[in-house]
């Protein structure tokens, strides 16, 4: 049971406090409700570029990292399709430094042209390092626009084209900030040896003076139901063929979300899982294979991805994957379902031993509607039945709901 206390400031900032007296470190997690799904299709990658700019100095503090390091703190951030999340861990004594720094960059940034120019270049190198200079690195750049035709999930967080990053200008940076970086579009969580009064005092002192802002409403286009199978082939300089198949699934708050998550676990969580036992070991078609969900807030994807063994035809491999998917609802038994639930409970409980994980989860569940979902999440998985899996998988694993990327190895 994760106990916590919640309150809101008048400007709309939501604050969650989780007291943990066993640790000398305080975790300060700040979630902004903005991700790459909120981007202009002509400026993809902007939310992530913006995350970089948040470290380029704020209105009253020229450098963000230095004062934090001076306080023995550390920080980082990530951007996803749905959210941008900033976190700090700092010795308990120096908690106020975190409030001071984070509130100033919520107040306003420095908006310097030089910082923008440098971070554009850094992000292009990140694009190169993660997506172009790795074998199979561009697969997601190809798979997303194959699976989505309308919804902004059709581009990855890094952006669909480095040109979008290069072309962005300072005015766009300012507009983005005032459209999304607002107390009324953020959730803060403190986890550590802190008191509620202390957090209230600090939140009021540093965040309350920031006015609430007019946040751009989310009018995201709904992805139409896919009605026929999509297949795309590319050839790249890699040692082995690989294959990626994506299926549209329900949104995060849909009652079937946990069913789909467990289906992906039945397929590939652990060495005893079906895809590993049958396709890696039994039929020896793949050297590695994985199934996972993107877990996004709007309708996401369940993806099956694997690297093929030498001389295996990608279409034979695809056929074998579909056989497994069709067999799953027929052959699933109580023992197997219990197994994936046990693994899930274990993973979730281990996550609670880490105060950063806890703070991130509390913010994320609050964004979804209620931070207390952290305490009821395992129960929702426990309730899933074989009948649920059968009902959901028959719709999910329809061929006409699939998008497959065949990633061929160039002959050498």
């Amino acid at each position: 049971m994760v106990e916590f206390h919640r309150f809101s400031l008048e400007n709309g900032l939501k604050v969650i406090v989780h007291q943990d007296e066993t640790t000398p470190i305080v975790t300060f997690n700040l979630l902004y409700n903005v991700g790459s799904r909120d981007e202009d299709p002509e400026r993809t990658g902007f939310a992530h570029l913006f995350e970089h700019l948040m470290f380029g100095g704020s209105v009253n503090i020229p450098v963000y990292d230095e004062p934090l390091e001076r306080a023995g703190g550390e920080n980082n951030a990530f951007t996803s399709t749905d959210i941008t999340n900033y976190y700090i861990t700092v010795p308990r004594e120096n908690l106020e430094t975190a409030f001071w720094l984070e509130s100033d960059r919520m107040l306003s940034l420095d908006f310097s042209q030089r910082s923008l120019d440098i971070q554009k270049s850094v992000v292009i190198e990140e694009f190169n390092q993660r997506y172009l200079n790795q074998p199979y690195g561009d697969a997601w750049l190809l798979l997303r626009p194959l699976a989505y035709k309308v919804h902004p999930y059709r581009w990855p967080t890094i952006g669909k084209d480095p040109k979008h990053i290069m072309d962005s200008n300072l005015q766009e940076v300012k507009d983005f900030f005032f459209s999304y970086y607002a107390p009324n579009n953020a959730i803060l969580c403190l986890s550590g040896n802190v008191t509620i009064d202390e957090v209230k005092h600090l939140a009021n002192k540093w965040f309350a003076p920031i006015p609430s802002r007019e946040v751009k409403p989310k009018n995201l286009p709904k992805e139409p139901t896919q009605i026929e199978q999509r297949v795309m082939e590319v050839t790249r300089s890699v040692p082995f063929h690989s294959i990626y198949t994506a299926f549209h699934m329900c949104h995060r708050l849909h009652p079937d979300y946990h069913v789909v998550d467990l289906i992906s676990d039945i397929l590939s969580n652990g060495k005893s899982s079906r895809l590993y036992q049958n396709l890696v070991k039994g039929k020896e078609l793949f050297s590695s294979i994985d199934a996972y969900i993107t877990g996004e807030i709007d309708e996401g994807l369940l993806v099956v991805a694997g690297i093929l063994n030498k001389d295996v035809d990608p279409y034979d491999a695809q056929g074998a994957i579909f056989e497994e998917l069709q067999d799953l609802p027929k052959s699933l038994n109580e023992q197997e379902l219990e197994k994936v639930k046990n693994r899930l409970e274990s993973t979730f409980t281990f996550g609670l031993t880490n105060s950063l994980d806890k703070a991130m989860n509390l913010c994320y569940f609050e964004l979804l509607g209620d931070a207390n979902m952290i305490n009821t999440e395992v129960e929702r998985y426990r309730k899933v039945t074989i009948a649920d899996v059968q009902r959901v998988s028959s719709r999910l694993f329809n061929v006409s709901n699939s998008s497959t990327l065949i990633y061929r190895a160039e002959k050498r």
Binding site: E93, N133, Q335, E345
Partner: protein, 429 residues
């Protein structure tokens, strides 16, 4: 109105407080370290064997002998074993490095009795079925072939191979062809010689009570000795550090991977704490000189860092980055110029104070919770013969070090001519 331009006052702890592990001894003499901490109903057991790749006769022998332990025992097949661990929601992780082989099993307390029993079985009676070995070899070869497409892998292999020499236990690396040669008798012989009570230390962490300790005794108190009777070596010969320049061609690479560094010393060396601080200033944190110069000022890279890679009887200092292919030469030039600055210019008080605070925070983070604490104590076991004064000494050095001492360290250890420089990338840019 609050004044937002003035930093909030900060203070730093003057001493490091952490609980040492309780030490128990099993009836066969195995040392058991217990770290009882945390509220969640979870635990982890780590079996640390002196059975790293330095003890092997042929490439991959240690790796295969350890990785294939869960792939079949006298009582259970590979599939039954993975079903068992998965059903009880436990996670088995096996790691083989140069000095040590470690099996870690994490599980909920309520499932620990079932999980540790199977762990005992795979340690005592693996049978290494031929079919499993063949599959493991195929997959391993595939993964390595994919890895070898990465410039970072190519640069890293060239770096360690050249530093120690490819025949040295710390420089040797498996090639894809080694997977075709490794055979069952080699696995059996490695298991019977090294996987025994005489080479094992056990660490138990999480919410631990008498019951869990009794289970460790039950499952491992009867483990027999490995038949390699030679004592655990307390040294390894390291010739002069490889130096010079190595270029590995990778056609059409959009980025070059760079590794610059040298062989240094183990964590027991008297210069270690001071050099660790110097390394932090150079490239050991986000605000380091290399990051500020090469990422935040020039935008050549997404990241650059420097680190100390420890071995039981040696240590390596390295700078690592991936940069746009056209920035390769300018980056190398800046790397050497940052080393030169550390040799010639004293570090300003302000920067030194910042790094001291940052490092003290880092140490606190390394002891934050049962599992981070277990990880820190395992490192102490790996690299410092479990000498706890290492951390007290490190903390004291951080508080008292001067810029003169750091300049002395730079002039002793950061000499450009003594560095090895490895680049993997494309020349045609």
């Amino acid at each position: 109105m609050i004044n937002r331009t003035i930093p909030s006052p900060v203070s730093m702890p003057q001493e490091l407080h952490f609980t040492k592990a309780d030490v128990h001894t099993l009836s066969n003499g195995i040392k058991l370290l217990v770290i009882n901490k945390g509220d969640e109903e979870v635990c982890r057991i780590d079996l640390v064997f002196h059975a790293g790749s330095r003890y092997q006769q042929v490439n991959l022998q240690a790796n295969a002998a350890l990785m294939l332990m869960p792939e079949g025992t006298t009582n259970n097949t590979s599939k039954q074993i993975s079903e068992h661990f998965d059903f009880y929601g436990s996670f088995l992780n096996i790691d083989v490095d140069k000095d040590y082989a470690t099996l870690s099993l994490s599980s909920l307390i309520k499932h620990f009795p079932n999980c540790i029993e199977m762990l005992g079985e795979i340690v005592r009676t693996p049978v290494y079925p031929d079919k499993e070995l063949i599959l493991w070899s195929q997959r391993g070869k595939h993964k390595l072939l994919v890895e070898l497409e990465k410039t970072s892998t190519l640069a890293g292999r060239a770096f360690f191979g050249t530093l120690f020499g490819k025949t040295h236990p710390y420089g040797a690396m498996a090639s894809p062809d080694d997977y075709d040669i490794i055979a069952q008798p080699q696995l059996r012989s490695f298991h019977s010689s090294r996987i025994g009570s005489n080479f094992l230390i056990i660490i138990l962490s999480g919410k631990i009570g008498e019951h869990e300790i009794a289970l460790v005794e039950k499952c491992f108190g009867n483990l027999t000795k490995g038949n390699d009777m030679s004592p655990i070596p307390n040294g390894i010969a390291v010739d002069a550090s490889g130096r010079g320049k190595v270029f590995v061609e990778k056609p059409n690479a959009v980025q070059s991977a760079i590794r610059v560094g040298r062989i240094l010393f183990p964590r027991t060396h008297p210069d270690y704490p001071a050099f660790l601080i110097l390394n932090t200033i150079l490239g050991g944190y986000f605000g380091s000189r290399l990051m500020r110069n090469i990422r935040e000022d020039k935008g050549f890279t997404y990241g650059i860092n420097s680190f100390l890679a420890p071995f039981r009887h040696s240590g390596v200092f390295a700078i690592a980055t991936e940069v746009g292919a056209a920035y390769t030469e300018p980056t190398l030039k800046e790397i050497y110029s940052e080393m030169k600055r550390l040799r010639n210019e004293p570090i300003a008080d302000d920067e030194l104070l910042l790094v001291k605070s940052y490092l003290m925070g880092e140490i606190l983070r390394n002891f934050n919770g049962a599992f981070p604490m277990a990880n820190s104590i395992i490192k102490l076991l790996y690299y410092n013969e479990l000498d706890y004064s290492f951390y007290d000494n490190l903390f004291k050095t951080i508080r008292t070090i001067t810029s003169d001492r750091l300049m002395e360290m730079a002039n002793k250890w950061l000499i450009e001519e003594e560095m090895l420089e490895c680049v993997a990338g494309s020349r045609e840019t």
